[in-house]
């Protein structure tokens, strides 16, 4: 057992868990943060995306010990912020959501991208989303969603 201290969605959290346990399992099973999805469990699909210290990571292949001292943001935290609401609204408006299983991960990837490039080109958006698989939308409307969030959220990013 390891004792891990970190911040999750702004609050300090102490976790007692084997250190190699997947962050994904801790978030979903222990903390009830079910916006974080499991689509593959091997880093391929991005459904489990969260931000660690502002950077996009896949929680399914991140051992919980590795987030010691880190700051984790899931969609449960992001949706309470103005930036989060901006992306969520933009996704809803552009038709970026179909079955929705990839969507929380896509929203996190969009946030990570916009934190870094406040005014991304289409190609930059596509690169930013390239680790998040979506089988429903064919991506175009998600790309539009991110572009709309960038435009609407000017000043936020």
């Amino acid at each position: 057992m390891n004792q891990i201290h970190c911040r999750i969605n702004g609050s300090p959290v102490a976790i007692s868990s084997p250190g190699t346990r997947r962050l994904l399992d801790v978030l979903r099973d222990d903390l009830g943060l079910t916006s974080v999805k499991e689509g593959c469990g091997e880093g391929e699909c991005g459904a489990c995306s969260v931000l660690l210290d502002g950077k996009l990571v896949n929680s399914c292949i991140l051992p919980v010990l590795a987030v010691s001292g880190g700051d984790i943001l899931t969609l449960e935290g992001l949706r309470e912020t103005e930036r989060g609401r901006c992306i969520i609204d933009a996704f809803a408006e552009t038709g970026a959501v179909q079955c929705g299983f990839c969507t929380p991960g896509m929203v996190m990837a969009a946030a990570a991208l916009l934190f870094e490039h406040s005014d991304p080109t289409e190609q930059e958006i596509r690169i930013g989303l390239s680790g998040n698989l979506c089988r429903c939308t064919g991506y175009d409307m998600i790309v539009s969603g991110v572009a709309l969030a960038a435009e609407r959220g000017r000043g936020l990013w």
Partner: protein, 711 residues
């Protein structure tokens, strides 16, 4: 802006999903939940000789055929019931369910599962269509391995062949395709007040109820299936959930505790159903002027180990084998071949993509052979209103393909690009034309489904739609609501629609065959207009309506003759590619599509279907290689099975042409599958032009393109 129903609205499910509130199966909590792991056969074919179990700690159970309750039968009731819940003797495919291990802790369960050894006597297996046809290792099904063997005839092909100037032969092949719904398969079952209750990520709640009833010998009233918010399905959750549910039914019957099975992605990729691989052989008779006078077509599908819905998939394949073309004389044979692979099953398009790929590529090969420009050659044979289909049915709508073609050609700069990039220039552009018959084949809607829909209006001015078709991403929660809101003349947010439960909703049929909007949406429209007459928004009222077959449809299920579908949706797709001369990697430079689906209930939702469908089809055509390896699949991770990412294909240009259909709500026809049907052929034909070699199969991977160019 006009107030057409097609104007986009914000999807009713978008916010909850985008903000992470939507609860999928894995997100739901169940008191006292046990986890289940399916224990599987290690061989593709043989006989089960024993299962060696480790010592089971308290709370852990292994449940198998021996636990089926008295009166229960070891079979899953699909269309047929050849697929057993648990293997008791004969093994037909690798990974077939032998038993289910249950227990409270997943770590412990995993450790126990890895200590179970399943012993089988191995027999020689048949994996491919050829091996299946040759009954390698003896017949798996019947005495010829054919789940179905259909014959169609239009005109007088024998006469036409006997007068042919020349005959051109061709063989087209397509591979397996995995659905890759992002949410893997999963079901939780529980025992509640004497009832067996399922929570399932699925397309067809009533199918599950029917499927499990025999195994636990329970009446339908005591089986409830609740659909959970479903993270994609594409046909993969049409019949396969029956397989998981049946094992769970027996487990929960015995344990009286909730049990959950959620597949790991690899398990999902290895052991769930796939799109049927196909092989279509053409012989085409040409007259002295190079006109097609007749075709002889032999279509074979690899159906896998159990029948599931393969005969019906095969019907779509052969009914689509002339694509949008009116060929005067045609002979078609179609066979669904049993093999020892995971059963092949429904997948967006349901057999049509295979037929259309073959037809489009064959037409494209004929154009090459005759030295005619491809679009010009194909357009000469377009079906028109009054034209005859391969089942001798009648096309009843105006066919707008010419109009769609001009628009697509203009948008893509087709003719300029043809000139600029001659064959073999490593750059190519090509069209595909396609159609999709709306709804169930033949008389299925009337004789098998007979769907019902209820709408209730309450005193508070809101209405609720009750039906069994599920929202799985395709947008029906929104489009059904739009139809009802529009007819009832109430705001969209006053219409409720929930994930269906068989305990609450009438059976409006399965969520398949692009029937939801066209057929069930029509029922919603009818129910809403009846309700509107009685309900002023101040009382509680309820209306139930039932399917009515369009009176003019003639269909004979025995001979497969007549109007296979009441109407068709139509499509055109142009793809432009460049091929790297060093690595044969393909870069898709543009995709232009036009569709005629009657009328869109929501343009944004339809465009979402188009773009998603086209990407899935381009994956099918170029990327998604799924090869058999020792009875399993060589590509069984998302690392090795490549579905498109955001960088693989460019933005898709999509337009719609209206042509309202009288029997669809607001004139709507089916759209969800049509949009998958053509892009793979357009891609393959574009590659073909770029390298100036015949492309005969998909996926057209760089390895394959190298083989044909270096040959």
């Amino acid at each position: 802006m006009n107030d057409s129903i097609s104007n986009p609205v914000r999807r009713v499910d978008a916010y909850d999903k985008a903000a992470g509130y939507a609860q999928y199966l894995a997100d739901m909590k169940f008191e006292g939940l046990l986890y289940g792991r399916l224990i599987r056969t290690p061989v593709s074919r043989g006989v089960l000789t024993g299962v060696e179990l480790p010592e089971m700690p308290e709370g852990y159970r292994y449940i198998s055929a021996a636990d089926i309750p008295p009166g229960g039968e070891n079979r899953i009731q699909m269309i047929k019931s050849d697929w057993p819940v648990f293997v008791s003797d004969t093994v037909r495919y690798l990974g077939q369910t032998v038993g289910i291990l249950t227990g409270p802790d997943r770590q412990r369960l995993h450790e126990l599962a890895s200590k179970i050894t399943v012993h089988c006597r191995t027999q020689e297996a048949a994996y491919t269509i050829e091996e299946g046809l040759a009954c390698r290792g003896g017949a798996i099904h019947g005495d010829d391995n054919l789940f179905a063997d259909f014959h169609l005839k239009k005109g007088d092909p024998e006469a036409a062949f006997s007068q042919a100037d020349r005959i051109v032969e061709d063989t087209l092949e397509t591979g397996f395709q995995e659905h890759v719904y992002m949410e893997p398969q999963g079901i939780t079952a529980e025992w509640k007040e004497g009832k067996l209750v399922f929570h399932a990520s699925c397309q067809c709640p009533f199918y599950i109820r029917k499927a499990v009833a025999p195994s636990v010998h329970m009446p339908y009233e005591n089986i409830i299936v609740n659909q959970t918010t479903t993270g994609g399905a594409f046909g993969g959750k049409e019949h396969f959930p029956d397989v998981i549910a049946s094992a769970l039914a027996v487990a929960v019957y015995v344990l009286r505790r909730p049990v959950q099975v959620i597949f790991d992605r690899r398990e999902d990729m290895l052991y769930t159903v796939k799109r049927h691989p196909s092989q279509v052989l053409f012989r085409t008779a040409l007259d002295a002027k190079g006109r097609i006078t007749a075709m002889d077509i032999d279509a074979r599908l690899n159906a896998g180990a159990f029948e599931s819905c393969s005969p019906i998939v095969l019907q779509r394949t052969i009914f689509s084998a002339n694509s949008v073309y009116d060929i005067p004389n045609v002979n078609i044979r179609g066979r669904a071949v049993a093999t020892n692979t995971v059963p092949s099953d429904a997948f967006r398009g349901f057999g049509a993509p295979q037929g259309i790929f073959a037809a489009e590529m064959h037409m494209s090969h004929l154009a090459r052979e005759l030295g005619t420009e491809e679009s010009e050659f194909k357009r000469k044979y377009f079906l028109a209103k009054g034209g005859k289909t391969v089942t001798n049915g009648t096309v009843r709508e105006e066919v707008l393909l010419e109009q769609m073609w001009s628009r697509a050609a203009e948008l893509s700069g087709y003719y300029e690009k043809l000139k600029a990039y001659p064959p073999g220039s490593y750059r190519g552009i090509a069209p595909a034309f396609y159609l999709h018959g709306g709804g169930f084949t033949g008389s299925g809607e009337q004789e098998i489904i007979n769907g019902k829909v209820r709408i209730t209006g309450s005193k508070d001015g809101s209405a609720e739609i009750l039906l069994s078709n599920v929202e799985m991403g395709q947008g029906t929660a929104t489009t059904f609501s739009k139809i009802a809101a529009r007819v009832l003349d109430i705001p969209l947010d006053r219409v409720k629609i929930a994930n269906p439960s068989t305990a609450r909703v009438p059976d409006s049929g399965p969520t398949v065959a692009s029937r939801s909007i066209m057929v069930v949406g029509k029922l919603v429209e009818r129910a809403a207009s009846q309700l509107r007459e009685r309900w002023g928004g101040t009382s509680d009222e309820s209306v139930l309506v039932q399917y009515e077959h369009p009176p003019w449809i003639r269909w004979d299920q025995e001979t497969l003759q007549g109007d296979a579908y009441p109407c068709f949706s139509w499509g055109v797709c142009i793809v432009e590619v460049s091929v790297d001369p060093g690595t044969w990697e393909v870069e898709t430079l543009g995709v232009w599509t036009g569709h005629e689906i009657g009328r869109a209930i929501d343009e944004a939702i339809v465009h979402g279907q188009v773009i998603g469908g086209v990407n899935q089809a381009l994956g099918y055509g170029g990327l998604e290689k799924l090869e058999l390896s020792g009875g399993g699949f060589a590509q069984h991770t998302l690392a090795d099975y490549s579905i498109p990412t955001s960088l693989d294909f460019p933005k898709v240009t999509s337009f719609l042409v209206e042509n309202p259909y009288e029997y669809g709500p607001f004139g709507a026809k089916g759209a969800g599958e049509l949009v998958f049907d053509g892009a793979a052929a357009a891609y393959a034909a574009a590659v073909q032009r770029a390298v100036d070699r015949k492309v005969e199969r998909i996926p057209a991977t760089p390895e394959y393109i190298m083989e044909i160019t270096e040959a």
